[in-house]
Each structure stands twice: as structure tokens, then as C-alpha cells.
Symmetry: C2
Subunit: 234 residues, 2 copies
């Protein structure tokens, strides 16, 4: 099968997945490029592969022309392959959890997911963040999206449902990173780029972490990664 | 003085500063928003302030209408103020130096400059990176640009001119971060997002640092910040 018309109904329906509303409705999302294709193959959640590369074979593969691929892609110079994937289901909550409250920048979200996996925070709770399946987020995770257990949930609801975890916030007036004793089962909470963690959540944390620095604040992706790195080495 | 025409010659000339060629030619750049205006006032390198805000006063202030401000701005919803600043001159090289070789993403460059200042790496060498005065870079630095000593120079040239520094690279097969003894006078070198540090430079470093992680690689802004944070606490 080869699709050469940009007006093909399947192509038009697939393009809609660049819109969050349709991603939520269909429970699917798009990944671009070879690296994410390979990760999705390993993970086993591919629905359809669109490609101009005839060395890619399989019953889910649909060949398309370059204009069709360009129509499907969000990037100016698409790699030769693009997948429609099923959204990932939740698994058991791991010992180390990262909670992201209202993170709005897709680059920050992607970077934090990549670092979370890097430092063993294999469960990530998204509370009112930008959409996980936004193409910039997926690109920033560098293929590490599928290995994480990602839960979309309100932070306080998660805290109530998981009372055996110790919750650590971040704040400018907290305790220095290395002076804190960290529990085995813990959740690190990071807040919005501009306003930080909400007051309600901050009032429920056991301890708030501060990173000693000469600037007013660090980028949230940097701050979160420094803390996760520190905890991973204890 | 109030400019209400988007075709005013000064406005047309100022808009050109969004182009690197003109920034280099004029030795000037644009900052947007109140935070950067305040930082530039402190630093003393403002040439002209364009604003719709009549509470802002001074002999460098030019009032404009909203359409003129929108024409001058790179953002969709500009804050009420925008400055033309003189480029910053170089000072003496500090004990801790960050060298960035071919960093291409403006968000990464801005984040690294913010962290550099945060962790006392007050001299930053830019070797063939994206333009420092790109508006996205300036935004990501969050007003911390002016406090840094920024030098645009080839890495090897810098190494030759500063032989009393110890040079640390980053590599996947290096020595774990905490197992290294760091000299007082040191430079940390970070390389391109895709290809890392160039072979020529890597062959000249004293030691290459590795961060232990479960992923193939970390975001370069994250990796650099983790290393600078570690060194700042020794």
C-alpha cells in the first residue's frame, strides 16, 4: 500500500492527532523519526507506521510519498518515518516518584522526563502540565517516554492515595539539598516555571529542598535534575 | 518624544537588530521586558528604551504606540518595554570557566548561562554556538546575561592562551563526577547536543567527566548544570 495523495482520508485523520483534543479522543499520538520508531517497536504500542523508506517492513507499515510525509509531520525537514502509537497505560507506582505541577514549557517537561528515567524516578505524575503527547515534549524526551510510568492526576489526590510516600517540595527558603535525609519511598514535587508549587501543595510537603545558587532561581528542568541526581547517588 | 508610525526610520533600523548580521555590525542587541530593563539599568549598557509605559522616565526613553512596540518585538504579546543595549565587553578570566563548543539550541545556551552564574562559573567561552544575542537566549538567561564575562573564542585558542587552567571534558566513558579531584582554576567544556565535544578538543582535556545515569545521555543543559553544581559545593 502506498499513499500519494495528501487528501487521503487516513492522512487527514492522522494529521488531526497534532491536536490534543483528538489525541485524547483517540487515545493515540504521533512520534517522528527513527529513534522513536525503534523505541515504540520495543515497547509494542505502534498502531501505524508511515514511511518513505522501503527498507522498513511489517504489517503496520504504510508507504507514503514525501509530500504526504511532510503533511503528516510537524517538523520542517521530517525524517523518513512517523508512527501513530497507542497511549501508554499506567503501572504500579515505583519507589521514586516525580510530580510535576503545572509545568508549561514542552522543552522543560521533555527534559525532566528524560532525567527522571536517567535517575530512577520511574513514575511521573503530571498535574495540569502541558500535553505529554505534544511533539516538542516527545522530541525532548529523546525516546525515553515509553519506559516511564506516567500518571495524569491531581497532586493532592495522588498524595491522599499514596500516604506511605514522603513528599519533598522545592522552595527558595527550604533546606539545602545535601542536609536532608531522604526516605526510600519518596516523591519530588516541582512546580510551575513562573510561580512554583501551589500553596496548597506546599503546605502538605514534609520538607522543602533548596539548591544553593547565586541566581534568583534556576531553570526548573535543571533544578529538578540536580535534585534527582543527588538522590540517585545516596 | 513619541513615535506612532511603524515606518519611522529609527523603528525600521531597530527591527534590523533581530538579525545577527546587524547585531554584529552595530555591536548592539535588543532585550524585552521589565526584568531585563532593570538588569540593563544596573549594568549601565542601555542605548535606547522604547516603551508604552509613561511611568518609565529618563533621557534614553522614547515613547511609542502599541503597534510600534509590537513591530519592534519578537514575541506575540510584548511586555510594555524593550531596550537597545550595547554588547558587553570582556573582563579578566575568572577561576571557574565554562566553555561551550557548538551548542546550537538557544534554550540550552540560555539555561547554561543562567546556571553558570548560579554556580560561580563567571566566565563563559562561546565557541561557534548559536548567537548569544538571539532573543530566545536572552529570555532563557532570565536577566543573568549582564553579570557574566562572555568571550567568543575558539576552544583550543583559549586553552593555548590559558595554560594554567585544568580542562575537564564530558564523555560517556569518562570518570564519575564525584571521583575526580578538581583544580581551583578550571574550565568545564560542554559540546554539541548531537555530537558532543570535538575530537581535537577531547584529546586535549586532562580528565573527562561522566554522570551515572540510566539513559543514553542527558540534556546538555542538565548535564552541565549538575557538574557545575557539584564543583560549586567542593
Amino acid at each position: 500500500m502506498k499513499i500519494s495523495s495528501v487528501n487521503n482520508q487516513l492522512i487527514k485523520d492522522t494529521v488531526k492527532l497534532h491536536n490534543k483534543k483528538y489525541r485524547d479522543l483517540e487515545n493515540q499520538f504521533i512520534t517522528e523519526g527513527y529513534h522513536l520508531y525503534e523505541e515504540a517497536v520495543k515497547y509494542g504500542n505502534i498502531k501505524t507506521v508511515f514511511t518513505i523508506d522501503e527498507t522498513i517492513v511489517g504489517d503496520k507499515v504504510i508507504y507514503v510519498t514525501l509530500p504526504v510525509l511532510e503533511k503528516l509531520s510537524q517538523t520542517k525537514k521530517p525524517q523518513g518515518i512517523l508512527c501513530v502509537c497507542e497511549k501508554v497505560k499506567n503501572n504500579e507506582v515505583t519507589d521514586k516518584v516525580l510530580i510535576l505541577e503545572r509545568i508549561q514549557d514542552p522543552g522543560n517537561l521533555g527534559t525532566l522526563l528524560r532525567s527522571a528515567l536517567g535517575f530512577g524516578f520511574n513514575t511521573v505524575v503530571l498535574d495540569n502540565t502541558c500535553d505529554l503527547y505534544n511533539d516538542k515534549v516527545i522530541r525532548s524526551t529523546q525516546g525515553n517516554l515509553f519506559k516511564l510510568n506516567i500518571i495524569e492526576k491531581n497532586t493532592i489526590e495522588f498524595m491522599i492515595q499514596n500516604p506511605d510516600y514522603k513528599y519533598y517540595g522545592t522552595s527558595m527558603n527550604g533546606v539545602e539539598l545535601s542536609k536532608i535525609e531522604y526516605d526510600k519511598k519518596l516523591a519530588l514535587i516541582l512546580g510551575n516555571e513562573g510561580s512554583g508549587i501551589s500553596k496548597e501543595v506546599l503546605s502538605l510537603t514534609s520538607e522543602n529542598i533548596t539548591i544553593k545558587t547565586n541566581v534568583e532561581s534556576l531553570n526548573v528542568g535543571v533544578a529538578g535534575s540536580i535534585i534527582m541526581h543527588h538522590i540517585s547517588r545516596i
